[in-house]
């Protein structure tokens, strides 16, 4: 369970996230949706400690507030960042190995084997530079790199940004598969139809505040949704 209480993020005088609170129950997928600048990425970055924030963040009973990013990773929180943030001039294998940077070598090797069996394309591309992969393959490497630390909570920022519809379907399938393993997942996504297709709950953000929250059908049917996306 990931619990966020009164989270705020500011960049100088600009408040990106304004005192939001929500929870991601165990083994569920929750999606933060909203237009550009709504505060989705800032929320995820605050949870992993990439940006400083105020408020309280608790993951599986452990308070993350004030911890450095590496300690949050140790406590089972992993993030697939916007733009994937792979290491383009390192091989797929090296990217994945670095995902297990904080793990013991034997554990890391075992997880790498399991992931390569689960996603054979990774084994086929193991020695290829990550920067030479297609967008969909890069997204798969980014998700698997995050899984290398055996997280309990996985945060994914814009999983289908820049991907073709056919690849988005593959990413959807991967997320559903991960959902089936009991992983707790929080997605930040601008594509509301994708978010509605994979998530159990949607949280609509606008100008750093929560405007609506509920099941996909509930949120997509609310006037706040049209207001946030279309301005009408």
């Amino acid at each position: 369970m990931l619990e966020i209480e009164n989270l705020s993020v500011s960049y100088g005088r600009n408040e990106a996230v304004r005192g939001i609170s929500f929870a991601v129950p165990d083994a569920s997928i929750v999606a933060l949706v909203g237009a550009n600048g709504a505060g989705k990425t800032s929320t995820l970055n605050a949870i992993t400690g990439l940006v400083s924030s105020s408020g309280r963040i608790v993951s599986n009973g452990r308070v993350l507030t004030g911890l450095t990013t590496d300690n949050r990773v140790r406590l089972g929180v992993a993030q697939v960042a916007e733009g994937r943030q792979l290491f383009p001039l390192m091989s797929v294998r090296e990217n994945l190995e670095l995902g297990g940077y904080l793990c013991r070598a034997a554990e890391s090797r075992q997880r790498l084997t399991v992931l390569m069996e689960r996603f054979p394309v990774l084994a086929e591309r193991a020695d290829q530079f990550a920067g030479t992969l297609s967008g969909g393959e890069q997204q798969m490497v980014a998700i698997c790199r995050a899984l290398m630390s055996a997280p309990q909570v996985l945060l994914i920022d814009e999983p289908c940004l820049g991907l073709a519809p056919i690849i988005i379907r593959k990413v959807t399938a991967i997320l559903r598969e991960l959902h089936g393993t009991g992983l707790t997942i929080l997605i930040a996504e601008q594509n509301a139809s994708f978010a509605a297709a994979v998530a159990d709950r949607l949280i609509l953000l606008e100008n750093g505040r929560i405007r609506a929250e509920g099941s996909p059908n509930e949120v997509l049917g609310q006037p706040q949704f049209r207001q946030a996306y279309l301005g009408v």
Binding site: L50, T69, D70, V73, L86, L89, M90, Y101, L102
Partner: protein, 288 residues
Amino acid sequence: MLLDIIQTGLDGVMVGSLYAMVALGITLVFGLVGILNFAHGQSVMLGAYVCFFLVSAGHSFWVGAIVATLAMGVFGALLERAVFRRTLGDPFAGLAVSLGLIMIIENVAAAALTPDPRFMDAPVSGNFAVGPLLLSSQRSLVFVISSALILGFWLFLQYSTLGKAIRAMSQSRQGAALVGVRVDTVSRSIFAVGSALAGAAGALYASLFAVTPFMGAAPLTKGFILAALGGLGSVPGAIAAGFLLGLAESFGSRYLSASFRDGYGFIILIFALLFLPTGLFGAGKARV
């Protein structure tokens, strides 16, 4: 004629290995932290003095070189903590501060140690023959030490966990942070490592050339030419450029003009900027 060319080439490779070591420190700091540390040459100079004084006090060259390396590592860490940490968000401020540090360190050294050139006994002397070739023992030793340090460092970057983390950081700082690399700590330690390499280069310089408070200028200028030539942030580029410059200087001095020795690097750099603007290996991105 062929023998002369081989002899000249070997001389160039020997000096080139020393240049590559200095350029390595500069490119490493730039690739990871984004700061062009112009005070790098001063670490070379201080390392040379540390080695000189220890050897003059009766210690062996090896003790002098190791202490110079370690001392400059500590010096680099102190500089990062006291100065460069505050300029991380502003590369121009870092550049200005490093230029100021040149003045301060050089002038303090000149005041405290006098500008007089000092000479240190080399650990080995004379020449030895390899077939028809005659090689300087000390230059050969410098080549072996600097090549071993460069190779060791390259292997560390390629195969150790920390080395991979350093390479990862140079490609995506945020990505590295998200896999658990303590990016601030690694950034700081890279200053220490870069400065330690400069200290080792200083000890090797001292075994070949006069030690003066202003001796940092030449390795610094050449180091920056090489870092730019190799592609700023590229370790293989800096190493290759080091050897290229050594060869250019050696052949230029032998067959064109010895008095223009320091100018050959600039000529290569101008051509490189015209035809290979992103460095010898082609990518504009940092490739630590």
